[in-house]
């Protein structure tokens, strides 16, 4: 209902107080009202008694007067002798003396003297007078109630009555009202024709008249509360009527409003005091709850801000629970901050070296990217340790890590404005303070010697060799892409055997496109987009084409011819080489079968990737294929392929040898050539790399190398094939050197199967060195 504690408390307290006060006020009012009512009741009762007394006294006075007159001898004589003028004058005299309203005599014979008999009901009056000695009571004269007092006139027997009458109308009642302590309203009611009518002039008060009638009927003699309109307490006192048949009543009335009037200031005081009190309580509880709610509100606000990650402290002002809560909150907030800082530090730092980690690096780059102006660049450099595994193996893991850390420190010392982060175990990354790649390239060049100075770890100086790859972004690359480029640049730099270089987008190409190429390649195998070209191999002794090398070609429907080294290399890197090789094998077997059908029996060489040389499963599969088809294939492998996993590779080669499949060592001399392995490999052929053959005709060292290699191979029982033979002179030289086979443009370019069939059919060559001569040469050399 109320969203604020302060409002809630204020409303609660003020409400409670107001409620309590209302109860007090109501109680006071009820008490006052009942008290006032009781007081008025008592007063009314007292007034009733006073009235009785006054009535009695008055009656007595009148009675005394009447009595006195009735006993006066002269008066009696006048009455007895019917001396009317005398009687009238005597009555008038006494009326004046006593201040009476009316005075008259009624004879036993019904003669009225002193009053017009028409003004009253004589018969009724006479009966009443006769019925009782000294009758008195209320009697209507002129339709108005009068109090009548009678006394018999005895002379000495009853001759009549002297009657005094006093009005009971308003002036009389005002006199009675004055006797009361409280402002009563007194009226006389008399019954006329079943209706109770007030003697007062003025508007008829019907409820009061009805009430009087009911009170008289029920003989209600206690003051009673009359409701309706203005409440009033009413006391109805019956007054004796002269004749028993009719009745009269004195009605004393006191309005409650008047009774309560003296208490009004008290009530007003109670209400004013209550309102003041309520206002005070509201203000006080407002202030109290404010004091209570304010720190809570502050805590609430602080908690929200803390949640939002802000650094907050609540000011502790009190020593109560809230104060302690605020203290705890502050403590908690500071601990949260510390923990958060630690977490952030851990999240953004490398645990081993304490250098910022990749996340921190990305953040820093992102911030720099957001801050640079158009045209400026964010430049980063990936700094990789060369041969780190070897160094680590040499000095141990711990010191190697220390080495990385110290290099980071050194970079920071040389260029204080940069950020140094550790990207991988052996690669650091620096975000340059400079905004220009060219500038940074210059800097890198300058600081390279000092960077590569030996670093002391574990008390020893260790040589440091690093390669760097730089990349820059103007905002077109995000942090992750920029770092990736720096790493690629590092790879490119290493591949190019340079100390540092910037990312070369052209050389990098589009690796992601290459990846998709692989899935397309598998598709291409099915669709026949892949095919084999064959490059003939010339037997230098016979001049005949005795073999071909099958080379995979891919005519991509949209990209055109794709370089073999691209898709083969990709297939090797992405694990698709097996599928490719399976295809080549199958196709080579098929092509050979077609050549045979055309009458050409040539040995078909197939390149087997180094990745498959140590694969037993592949070897078994290939052997099974070849054997099943009765094909004559030669597997060309590189010497390097054997070096990776020599035991397995050599056993695979043994399997091939056992199966009668000749093996050729490809590209000999270009890679790492190990005589030790050469000795172990059971190969039938050695192919000299074209790098040596192409510059053969120039003479010099290459010719010497080729000659000695040919001799070496022959000594090991292998035939020698020279690749890259492009000139007749080269061919002649090889022939003279005793090389067995030649392959190259000078002999033939690789060609499709159909062309090959034609080629073989039309083949003829004039050998540079005639057979005899060569034989001579051979002989000479032998």
């Amino acid at each position: 209902m109320f969203k604020r504690l302060q409002t809630k408390l204020t409303v609660l307290y003020a409400g409670l107080f107001a409620l309590a006060l209302s109860v007090v006020a109501v109680t006071v009012y009820v008490a006052i009202a009942s008290n006032a009512q009781r007081a008025v009741r008592e007063e009314l009762a007292a007034s009733g008694t006073v009235f009785d007394r006054v009535w009695a006294l008055r009656t007595q006075r009148l009675h005394d007067g009447a009595e006195l007159l009735s006993r006066d001898f002269g008066f009696r004589a006048a009455v007895a002798t019917h001396d009317r003028p005398t009687v009238e004058s005597a009555v008038a005299n006494l009326r004046q003396r006593l201040g009476l309203d009316l005075a008259f005599t009624v004879g036993v014979d019904g003669e009225v003297v002193g009053l017009d008999p028409a003004r009253l009901n004589l018969e009724k009056l006479w009966s009443a007078l006769d019925a009782e000695d000294g009758a008195q009571g209320v009697f209507a004269i002129d339709g108005k109630p009068y109090q009548l007092i009678s006394a018999p006139i005895l002379s000495p027997t009853l001759t009549g009555w002297i009657v005094f009458a006093a009005r009971l109308d308003e002036p009389e009642m005002r006199g009675l009202e004055k006797l009361s302590a409280i402002g009563l309203d007194a009226q006389v009611f008399d019954e006329r024709g079943g209706q109770w009518v007030s003697a007062d002039a003025g508007p008829v008060d019907k409820p009061l008249a009805a009430f009087v009638g009911k009170a008289m009927q029920d003989k209600l003699r206690a003051p009673t509360l009359l409701r309706g309109g203005a409440d009033s307490l009413v006391l109805v006192k019956p007054i004796k009527a002269l004749d028993r048949a009719s009745g009269a009543a004195l009605v004393l009335r006191y309005p409650m409003a008047q009774a309560l009037a003296p208490y009004k200031p008290l009530m007003a005081a109670v209400i004013i005091a209550g309102l003041l009190g309520a206002a005070l309580v509201a203000a006080a509880s407002w202030a109290l709850s404010r004091g209570l709610a304010k720190p809570i509100t502050a805590l609430d606000v602080a908690a929200r801000r803390l949640q939002g990650g802000e650094d907050v402290t609540v000011e502790v002002t009190t020593r109560d629970e809230i104060g302690r809560l605020a203290e705890s909150f502050n403590l908690m907030a500071s601990e949260i901050r510390e923990r958060e800082a630690e977490m952030i530090r851990q999240a953004l730092h490398d645990g081993e070296t304490g250098l910022p980690n990749r996340r921190a690096l990305e953040r820093a780059i992102q911030m720099r990217l957001a801050a640079i102006a158009p045209g400026e660049q964010v430049v980063i450099a990936a700094i990789g340790f060369d041969r780190f595994p070897q160094v680590r193996a040499a000095i141990g893991y711990e010191l190697a890590t220390e080495l990385v850390a110290k290099l980071g420190q050194r970079i920071f010392e040389i260029a204080p404005g940069v950020l140094v982060a550790r990207l991988t175990t052996s690669i650091l990354c620096v975000v340059s303070a400079s905004n220009s790649l060219d500038h940074v390239l210059g800097l890198v060049e300058d600081v390279l010697p000092s960077l590569e100075a030996p670093i002391e770890v574990g008390g020893e100086l260790v040589d440091v060799h690093i390669t760097q790859g730089l990349a820059a972004s103007q905002g077109e690359l995000d942090a992750a892409r920029l770092i990736e480029r720096a790493l690629i640049a590092l790879d490119q730099s290493r591949a190019a055997h340079r100390k540092f270089m910037a990312f070369d987008a052209a050389a990098y190409g589009d690796p992601s496109a290459n990846l998709s190429l692989m899935s397309e390649m598998l598709e291409a195998v099915r669709k026949g987009e892949l095919y084999l070209n064959h490059q003939p191999k010339l037997d230098l002794r016979t001049g005949a084409i005795t073999g071909v090398e099958a080379l995979a070609r891919w005519n991509h429907p949209t990209r055109g011819f794709i370089r073999p080294d691209l898709f083969v290399g990709m297939a090797e890197e992405t694990g698709h080489i097996r599928a490719l090789t399976d295809y080549v094998l199958a196709q080579a077997i098929e092509d050979q079968a077609r050549l045979r059908a055309a009458g050409h029996d040539v040995l078909m060489s197939v390149n087997i990737s180094g990745r498959l040389v140590d694969d037993h499963a592949f070897a078994k599969h290939a052997i099974a294929q070849v054997t099943a088809a009765g094909a004559r294939l030669c597997f060309e492998i590189t010497e390097t392929a054997v070096i990776g996993n020599p035991d397995v590779a050599l056993s695979v080669l043994d399997l091939l040898a056992e199966a009668g499949i000749p093996v050729s060592i490809d590209d000999y001399g270009s890679g790492l050539s190990s005589l030790a392995y050469l000795k172990q490999i059971r190969a039938d052929e050695l192919k000299i790399d074209k790098a040596f053959v192409m510059s053969l005709e120039a003479g010099g060292k290459d010719a010497l190398l080729v000659k000695s290699t040919v001799d070496l191979a022959h000594s090991l029982g292998m035939k020698v094939t020279a690749e890259g033979v492009e000139t007749r002179e080269g061919l002649a030289a090889l022939q003279l050197m005793g090389c067995d086979l030649a392959q190259g443009y000078h002999v033939a370019k690789p060609m499709g199967l159909d062309k090959l069939v034609d080629f073989l059919g039309e083949w003829s060559i004039e050998m540079p060195v005639p057979k005899e001569t060569r034989q001579d040469e051979t002989r000479k050399s032998a």
């Binding site: 005895l154 000495p156 027997t157």
Partner: protein
């Protein structure tokens, strides 16, 4: 003595005619005997011609601030004496029509008289002492007397024949405080009648 002799002479003189006693017993409506009720008998309904003489003294004394007797029957024209036997003085009066008189203050042992000139009633009072009330019934018949304490009165020697008789009492609720008796005639023997009357209380003093 002289009165007694006169009475005797009259009786004798009345001759040998037949006569009888008429006894009336008067009781109140409560059954109690009513004393001082005056029974008047008119033989043939006629008042007595000639002088009327009663055997009791025509005298109302004032004794102990009371009239004594309370009731006195006198013939019309009789002089009634009002001897004051008290030590205080009295002022006796009557406003009764026809028999109006006033005997102003007089003392002990003083005697005053007043003449009852009209048949009827003389209600007598004392102007000094309101409680003193007495009545003098002035009659025009020989045959009248008042009841005694037992409410009984005997009218002697009522001539036989038709009569008109009535009973009167000052407090009787009746026209002129009088009630006719039912006996219409008397014979030689004794006649009796018992009558019940309704009395009102005397006017308060």
């Amino acid at each position: 003595m002289r009165h007694a002799a006169l009475l005797l002479m009259a009786a004798l003189w009345a001759g040998p005619a037949l006569a009888g006693d008429f006894t009336v017993t008067v009781r109140g409506s409560d059954g109690k005997p009513v004393p001082d009720a005056v029974v008047m008998v008119y033989p043939n309904g006629q008042p007595t011609k000639g002088p009327i003489k009663f055997p009791w003294a025509y005298r109302v004394a004032q004794q102990n601030i009371q009239f004594n007797p309370f009731m006195l029957v006198v013939p019309v024209g009789a002089d009634v004496a009002f001897p004051n036997l008290d030590k205080v003085r009295h002022h006796v009066y009557s406003f009764s029509a026809g028999n109006k008189f006033e005997i102003k203050l007089y003392g002990h042992e003083e005697n005053r008289t007043a003449k009852m000139s009209t048949v009827g009633v003389a209600a007598i009072g004392c102007n000094i002492h309101d409680q003193m009330v007495g009545f003098i019934r002035v009659v025009d018949t020989q045959y009248a007397a008042k009841t005694d304490a037992n409410g009984v009165v005997t009218i002697q020697d009522v001539p036989a024949g038709a009569i008109k008789a009535s009973v009167w009492h000052p407090y009787m609720r009746a026209m002129k405080n009088e009630k006719a008796l039912t006996t219409a005639s008397v014979g030689a023997g004794a006649a009796r009648e018992q009558v019940t009357v309704d009395l009102r209380a005397p006017a308060g003093h």
